[in-house]
């Protein structure tokens, strides 16, 4: 029975857009650019998400009764987390745990602290914030409290690599209905399809969400090199050798004494 209630809550939250019709508030978003192109001088960039709250209660809008959470998810990947242990005086990789469905990058911006926007259950079900990213372990059971340690380390390391980011207050209202959020795209951003989600909350209640896709791709020389190395790796290897021999030959022509 309890399970059913949880399930019902989940559906109520996920499909709250139906309920939103009665409230009349809806969220719309647009991205400053739908593709991020990685070129040879790419050193990270910012992506701006613009949005508006439509059909909301005028008084409530002006009083700041609506909250926005914007999330940019990178493509899902499988990650191995390893823990070092000391063996014979040397630190070596010991226990390892595999996680699947990990977003390769995750950037969230909010109007205020997540626990002030809604209760923990709603925030958790919607997977908002670094503590609530849903990852799946492939080892089934028996890991106990270590699971949490490995899971937290995964998030901590991703934060250190600038791939997981939380910006409380990163959503800025330009007018009672218009907002913008600036999300950082780091230099090591994963290639592939990213999705930007905007979640609309009204006085602690989740109303509605919209999402839009964004593509991160290498272009020109970077794309050519990467594709060649991964799809035609033998040819790439010969090309690398050729470049080396040409450089070595050129050096002997330029500097050669004999």
């Amino acid at each position: 029975m309890r399970y059913l209630i949880t399930l019902a809550t989940f559906f109520a939250l996920t499909f709250a857009s139906f309920a939103a019709a009665t409230d009349g508030a809806d969220v719309q978003i647009g991205l400053s650019s739908e593709t991020v192109e990685i070129t040879s001088n790419f050193d990270g960039t910012d992506i701006v998400i613009f949005g508006s709250i439509e059909g909301g209660n005028r008084e409530l809008l002006e009083a700041g009764g609506y909250d926005i959470v914007v999330v940019l998810f990178g493509p899902k990947e499988e990650v191995v987390v390893r823990r070092k242990e000391r063996r014979l005086g040397i630190w070596v990789n010991g226990e390892a745990m595999r996680f699947s469905d990990v977003p390769s990058s995750y950037s969230v911006a909010t109007t205020k602290a997540l626990h002030e926007i809604a209760d923990d259950d709603s925030i958790g079900i919607l997977q908002l914030g670094l503590d609530n990213i849903n990852v799946v372990t492939e080892e089934d059971g028996g890991v106990g409290e270590d699971l949490e340690v490995f899971r937290d380390s995964l998030a901590r390391l991703k934060v250190r690599q600038n791939l997981f980011l939380e910006r409380i207050g990163g959503v800025e209202f330009l007018s009672p209905t218009l907002f913008k959020a600036k999300l950082a795209v780091p230099a090591n951003v994963p290639i592939g399809k990213h999705t930007a989600h905007a979640f609309l909350f009204k006085q602690g209640k989740f109303l509605n969400a919209k999402f839009q896709e964004m593509t991160v791709k290498k272009i020109g020389f970077e794309q050519f090199t990467y594709d060649l190395a991964h799809k035609n790796s033998l040819l790439y290897g010969f090309l690398a050798v050729f470049v080396a021999i040409a450089t070595g030959w050129l050096a002997s022509v330029v500097f050669g004494k004999d």
Binding site: A187, S233, A240, I245, D258
Partner: protein
């Protein structure tokens, strides 16, 4: 100025890398060594993933050994037949090394093994160089013209081995077993450590195989060039870890630095140079060794699993 490395998938400062290439090139020109054993650890210190550093360095060595081998070929100071036999061993070793590399990477122990191998090899070679050059300096002070060191005849256990072959250029009649084995060892090191292996091959050829010194350098460069070329192709095919942009920056820095290094080397005394290089090698060894035993601030690491 930052540049994005397409395979390492990171943004790096092009001047820092060029400077590293030129610096190591300078040292290798000055001392007449390949420099792979200094370049790979430096790349790792600069946070290039060890797998990429090792494979890319093999690619760079192709460039530096090519111009050297070409010069020796023109001067006829290389024994092609001996080089070819070393090469057969080298290619087998490299293929084996790349397979070991892949499985260590899968098991998450590649970085550790690379570090341990470097600590062992750099520690041994650095100590030998420092001791040997200090002895030479002391001897020079004692008497101006020391008698030339005696070259003992071929090691008896090597002379006793079967499958003998005649190498005309080196004036040797020698079993192919130690030649293939030496080539193979160097091939394994090339693929796992990203070194040419000259620092092992040259002394082994002189002291174990008794190859005349005038063909040793040319022949080892010949073997190194083909083995690192094979390693580059094999690493590209098996692990996709050769970064051609990184390699090119290092190559250009390396060949330019080597020219100035060679000029500087002619003005300095041999023993002092060797003592200095020995100390540099020991410093790199200590730094890598410290990272192995020092309690890390972060016990966890992440890697992308499966493809």
């Amino acid at each position: 100025m930052n540049i994005y490395l397409p395979i390492a998938e990171m943004s790096v400062n092009v001047f820092v890398l060029f400077g590293m290439g030129a610096g190591v090139g300078f040292l290798s020109g000055m001392f007449g060594v390949g420099g792979g054993f200094l370049m790979t650890p430096l790349l790792i210190f600069y946070n290039i993933p060890p797998a990429v550093a090792v494979a890319t360095e093999a690619n760079q060595i192709v460039a530096s050994s090519f111009s050297g081998a070409l010069a020796h070929y023109r001067r006829a100071t290389l024994d092609i037949k001996l080089g070819f036999m070393l090469l057969i061993g080298g290619i087998a070793g490299s293929a084996l090394g790349v397979a070991i590399f892949s499985s260590l990477r899968e098991a998450g122990q590649l970085d550790l093994i690379i570090s341990i191998l470097y600590v062992v090899f750099l520690g041994t070679i650095g100590s030998l160089m420092v001791v040997e050059s200090l002895n030479a300096i002391r001897k020079n002070r004692g008497q101006a013209d020391a008698p030339p060191p005696e070259v003992p005849s071929q090691q008896s256990w090597i002379a006793a081995l079967p499958f003998k072959m005649r190498f005309h250029r080196s004036q040797l009649y020698l079993s192919v077993i130690p030649v293939l084995a030496l080539g193979m060892l160097v091939g394994i090191l090339a693929s796992i450590m990203g070194v040419g292996g000259g620092f092992i091959m040259v002394p082994a050829m002189i002291y174990l195989l008794r190859v005349p010194t005038n063909v040793v350098i040319g022949t080892s460069l010949f073997q190194i060039m083909f083995v690192t070329a094979f390693t580059t192709v094999a690493q590209s095919a098996a692990n996709q870890t050769v970064d051609i942009v990184l390699a090119l920056i290092l190559m250009v820095g390396g060949v330019i630095g080597a020219q100035f290094g060679a000029q500087a080397g002619q003005k300095l005394r041999g023993e002092q140079l060797r003592a200095l290089l020995g100390l540099i090698v020991l410093a790199v060894c200590i730094r890598l060794g410290w990272d192995l035993v020092n309690t890390p601030t972060e016990l966890f690491s992440i890697g992308v699993g499966g493809h």
